[in-house]
Amino acid sequence: MIRVAAVGDIHMGPDSQGVLRPAFETLGDCADLLLLAGDLTRHGTPDEARVVAREVAGLPVPVVAVLGNHDHHDERPDEVTAVLREAGVQVLEGEGTVVETGGGRVGVAGTKGFGGGFAGRSGGEFGEPLMKEFIRYTRRCADGLRTALEELAGQECAERVALTHFAPVPDTLAGEPLEIYPFLGSYLLAEAIDAAGAGLAVHGHAHAGTEHGMTSGGVPVRNVAQPVIRKAFNIYHLHGDRSGSGGTSAVGRR
C-alpha cells in the first residue's frame, strides 16, 4: 500500500508562515509522500514562494508539486520553481518523478494544465490566434502529462499518480458556477490520463467544487483544494492494483 498525502490551493503569503507546518510535521506517521496541487502562492512572487519553501523544507516525506495559475501571476514561474526546488521540492511540468516508498515505487506525473472545458462543451483550436493558442497550450500540457505517465509505466512503479492544478473532469467542479467550468479545467487532461493510465488523479483550482470524481476510463479523481478538503491535506491509500494492465476493475487503464 502507498499512502499519498495531497493538498492544493494553500495560497501562502507572509502572514501564513507556520500555519500548515504543524500538520505537515505529522506526515512521517501517515504518508509516504506529499503532493502539492498548485496555487501554492497568491501572486507567484519569489517572496511568497520562500514562505512555501520554508513550510515544506525538511519534511519527513518527499514533496512533489505542480504550479498553479496564481503561481504564474507575477510571470516568474521559473524563479518560483527554483525557490521550491532549493527546498527539496520536486516541481513537475510535463514530466514525471519516481518516489521510493516502503510500499513500492510511486510514479508521479505532473503538469499545471489549463482550461478549455469538457467534452461537448469545450473550446477548440478555431478562429482567432489567441483562441487557438488557448487550446494549444492546454493540449501541450495534456501531451506532457501523457508522455510523463507513459514513461513512468516502464519504470516498475506500483502506482502512478497524475498531478495537475486544473481539473481533468467536471465531476469535481460540482458547486462551482457552470459558466466558469471552461476556466477550471479541460477534458484533454482526462483523455491523457485515460490513455496513459494512472491509479489516481489529483488536482486543485476549484475552491467551491467537490472532492470526488472519476475519468471516463475509471481513474479516481480527487480535488484537493484546501477549501474543499477543509484540512491541511488528505491522505489516499493506494493498493497497487488499479494501474496494472487488464482486469475488469481496470477497464481503460493500461
Partner: protein, 84 residues
C-alpha cells in the same frame, strides 16, 4: 436597497481588484441578491479575511453586504481514504 444596474459592474470590478491585490482571491463568490450582496468563500488566514472584508466594504460602500467567509482549516486529517 441596491441601485441597479451598476451593482453588477461594481462587483465585477471588485473581483478584478481582489485578484490583483494582497489577498489574491479568485475563489471568492460575490453575488448580487437583489437587496444585498453576498460574499462567500474560504481564505488562507484571518489576516487575509480582514483584508478581503476591508476591500469589499470599500468597493461596495453604500450596499448591504453579507459575509460568509471562513479561514481555511489547517488540521491534519484524522483518517485516510482507502481508494479501492
Amino acid at each position: 436597497m441596491n441601485a441597479p444596474p451598476d451593482v453588477e459592474y461594481r462587483i465585477a470590478h471588485l473581483k478584478e481588484r481582489l485578484a490583483a491585490e494582497e489577498t489574491g482571491d479568485l475563489g471568492i463568490r460575490i453575488e448580487n441578491r437583489g437587496s444585498s450582496v453576498t460574499v462567500i468563500g474560504t481564505v488562507p488566514t484571518a489576516h487575509s479575511r480582514a483584508a478581503l472584508m476591508d476591500t469589499v466594504n470599500e468597493e461596495l460602500a453604500g450596499l448591504t453586504v453579507h459575509f460568509d467567509v471562513v479561514v481555511a482549516e489547517c488540521a491534519a486529517p484524522d483518517h485516510p481514504e482507502e481508494v479501492i
